[in-house]
Symmetry: C2
Subunit: 319 residues, 2 copies
């Protein structure tokens, strides 16, 4: 797995998947879980599974956009689908078929297998009043979102987790996006960057189990189905656990600290959206298969947005 | 199962659960699915499973509040939890333990196994401007919600599905709550009751598989886990399918018809909420175990509401 042992939610999720597969198969299929402490390559799961160095790995698909830009959009997209919308797309809207198409080119079978729920927009030392406050701002923010913010003059930087707090304290960075209260609390960002912005960039990151296709193809049918169903259960369970632990951790954090929840101003969001649209267009031009995925997601989301608006959004408002 | 053959989502959900169990167990566990056309007792699943007439059934827990008022809140509660909140409560907030406690009293093992997603508030012939427009209004609306609306002067009525359209047309009823666009479209309510109100009363109805406990206890461990994981997959999958099919059906309906989406006015919602609080208090006094469930859900929801507000609600707004 890509995750250090003990990472809240992530660790549990991989081990419960492995445990379920072993128990459902009455011990015929045993999965040994190694963390980066052992394999030393948290972002190398794709390569290790492709080559067969490992037969199976748990990771985030968007880490591998350098290998194949089409892998990016299976995790999450700025201003994209919520977990409920994403799951509707995966299982009923053609998402799984596109996932198969992309990963088959790399001799890999992939399954959605864990979701972080919506991620917050990050911890900022100063309040953001307009787009000009963002110019030159140095922020730890990875992936597509990093490219989006660089289009509006921010400086996305990559810093190892262990150095984030010190970097923020010393002013090497001005803001940091990590995961959510359950993961962020112990890192302590809120003590020196009290403006906690709501999310726009990762509205529910889906993780994946990657399996070497040659290995998967040798498995008996019942074990294949056991893995498929266990992966789906892992996706569902991690979403529930993430929601639960973040709910509780947020209560604890806000009780003990003066954290200021903010939503980015409308003009900032408008510029982020425009930059994001441009970026997606550029990627679609470079990779036709990525373009096919972007278009499939967009076509569904255009419809899903309306249904989400008169159901989830309306209900959360009136309740 | 409680559902007629072919009921969108419901039918698929039960059959995919049965199929997954059979395939994961390599045929050692076969589940035959009978619908009310065969067993004639759509609301009798609880009794048939308790007695062992059937070893397993798929139904909605809140149908059995006459048998045990504590069964009610495992399905959904007016102004209660969304599916994401409900799942967090079930799997991490003590919900499953309470489910076990309630059903063990009836020699039944129960698993959450399907979710309709948020349900809309129903089709009305006339627009509702204030609480006085509701007085004497006859509506097909079952369960707790029916009791809530009767507290504010409406007349909840129970009418077989096949007679609903005619009843609405002839004025025997003034409004009808059913399920969602994918189920409602073919029933045609929108043609004669064009005001489509957003939901407050069933923010994600969870269905359940009930299994006779004496039968379940005889199963080998691997089959028990297979059933447990398959039920959880069914819960997750039906939520995805419901969201998907309602999204698509809503697009079709609104294209072809002049449907007016409305949210109940604030003063109406306030009165519904108050009536609902009173009702929950009354139930808690009559059944201490129901009270324990109501309190457990309320304690979690008080916290979850805040997290939902700064994540899901905020995101659906800013996107």
């Amino acid at each position: 797995m890509s995750w250090p042992d003990g990472t809240p939610m992530f660790h549990n999720n991989v081990h419960r998947f492995a445990g379920n597969v072993e128990k459902m198969s009455a011990g015929r299929m045993r999965i040994t879980v190694d963390s980066p402490g052992k394999h030393k390559a948290p972002l190398g799961i794709f390569d290790m599974v492709r080559s067969g160095a490992y037969e199976m790995g748990h990771t985030a698909s968007y880490y591998y956009k350098g290998k194949d830009p089409a892998t990016t959009f299976f995790t999450t997209t700025p201003f994209g689908m919520t977990p409920t919308e994403m799951n509707a797309w995966y299982y009923y809207g053609g998402g799984l078929e596109l996932l198969d198409e992309v990963y088959a080119r790399h001799n890999i079978v992939a399954f959605p297998a864990g979701n972080t729920h919506l991620q917050m927009g990050g911890w900022f030392k100063k309040e953001i009043h307009s787009i000009s406050d963002l110019k030159g701002l140095k922020m730890r923010i990875p992936g597509l979102a990093g490219e989006v913010v660089s289009k509006v003059g921010m400086k996305p930087v990559s810093i190892p987790p262990g150095e984030l707090y010190t970097s923020l304290e010393r002013g090497t960075i001005d803001a940091v996006e990590w995961a959510g209260p359950a993961n962020d609390e112990k890192l302590g960002f809120h003590k020196i960057a009290p403006f906690y912005y709501t999310g726009w960039h990762e509205p529910g990151a889906e993780l994946h189990i990657l399996i070497n296709k040659s290995s998967f193809d040798t498995l008996p049918e019942d074990i294949k189905i056991i893995i498929t169903v266990a992966a789906k259960e892992a996706s569902f369970d991690m979403l529930s656990e993430s929601f639960f632990r973040n709910t509780i951790a947020w209560q604890e954090m806000k009780k003990k600290n003066d954290i200021k929840i903010r939503t980015f101003p409308d003009d900032v969001l408008r510029v982020f959206k425009q930059a994001n649209d441009e970026l997606l267009n550029e990627i679609a031009i470079k990779s036709p298969l990525a373009g096919k995925i972007i278009n499939s997601q967009k076509a569904f989301l255009d419809k899903a947005k309306e249904w989400s608006r008169i159901t989830d959004a309306d209900y959360l408002q009136l309740r």
